[in-house]
């Protein structure tokens, strides 16, 4: 009976407003974590800030399409990665299909060759590599590989979440992650040891 009374419509509107406010608050609470990923998907802080604003503007408009109870951080990052690709990123994509000779021990071996290998009992990586080394090595990794490293190794997403965010099969996430980490270590070796 209540749903047919003249009061029903205002009540419905009030409920919707409450749900929307709740959604917006939850999304804003995640902004720091979303930014951490966004910052490493693009090259500059300005690009990351623009991308964040476009993402949140779109998310606030499309809030009804979010299914409560699902992973909101992944939902926001799906919007963000799509916007990033729409911005012309695809043009910069160059498939990296060359065989990669450097294996997973490459960086350690290079550090060892130059007498910079970490002590066995005290793996103080931070004494051998700097934050700047990591940031610039990461930015030198091709986009397709970097996206996966950023989502899994920095954003702490599962393979399944990363697959959903990037709209690629989970097997592709795994192979890009495997290769991307090796490329990252090669870049780190080039930057820290190659210049010696």
């Amino acid at each position: 009976m209540g749903e047919t009374t003249p009061e029903a419509e205002p009540r419905k509107l009030a409920e919707e407003a409450r749900d929307r406010v709740h959604f917006e608050e939850e999304a804003l609470e995640l902004a720091d974590q979303v930014y951490r990923v966004a910052r490493r998907l693009v090259s500059t802080r300005e690009e990351a800030e623009d991308l964040m604003q476009d993402t949140y503007a779109r998310a606030f408009r499309a809030w009804r399409s979010y299914q409560p109870g699902t992973n909101l951080r992944a939902w926001l990052l799906r919007i963000l990665t799509n916007l990033n690709i729409d911005r012309g990123r695809r043009q910069q994509r160059a498939p990296d299909l060359q065989p990669l000779e450097e294996g997973d021990y490459y960086l350690y071996n290079k550090l060892e060759e130059t007498g910079r290998a970490p002590n066995v009992d005290q793996e103080r990586v931070d004494e051998r590599l700097s934050q700047d080394d990591v940031v610039s090595a990461l930015s030198a990794v091709p986009h397709d590989f970097r996206d996966v490293i950023v989502l899994v190794d920095i954003g702490d997403f599962s393979y399944a979440d990363a697959a959903q965010i990037l709209e690629i099969p989970i097997g592709t996430v795994m192979s890009r992650l495997h290769r991307g980490r090796r490329i990252l270590k090669r870049e780190l070796a080039d930057q820290t040891v190659g210049s010696v």
Binding site: A17, R20, V21, E24, L28, A31, D32, Y35, R36, R39, R40, R45, E49, M52, Q53, Y56, A57, F60, G103, D104, Y105, L107, Y108, A117, P118, V120, E123, R124, V125, D126, L129, S130, Q131, D133, V134, V135, L138, V150, D153, I154, M174, L177, H178, R181, L184, K185
Partner: protein, 81 residues
Amino acid sequence: MGFGAGVDPCEACEELLQPYLDRELTDAERAEAEVHLDGCSYCRKRYRFEEELRRFVRQAAAEEMPPALKQKLAELRTPLY
């Protein structure tokens, strides 16, 4: 992949490094890797280094969101009236 006959065990172990740290190996593969790691300080050092490197990359890549951006995002919220 794997520690088969004719395969350099350290090369086989290097191939397992990422799935090992990602906990993606089968129990049998994991056991094989651990037997090798127990007896091989060359590989053990490199596994420990990789673990530490991942932590360092995560930490080094983290950048705080500028407070002004947080404010701008909050301003994008739909006005109530």
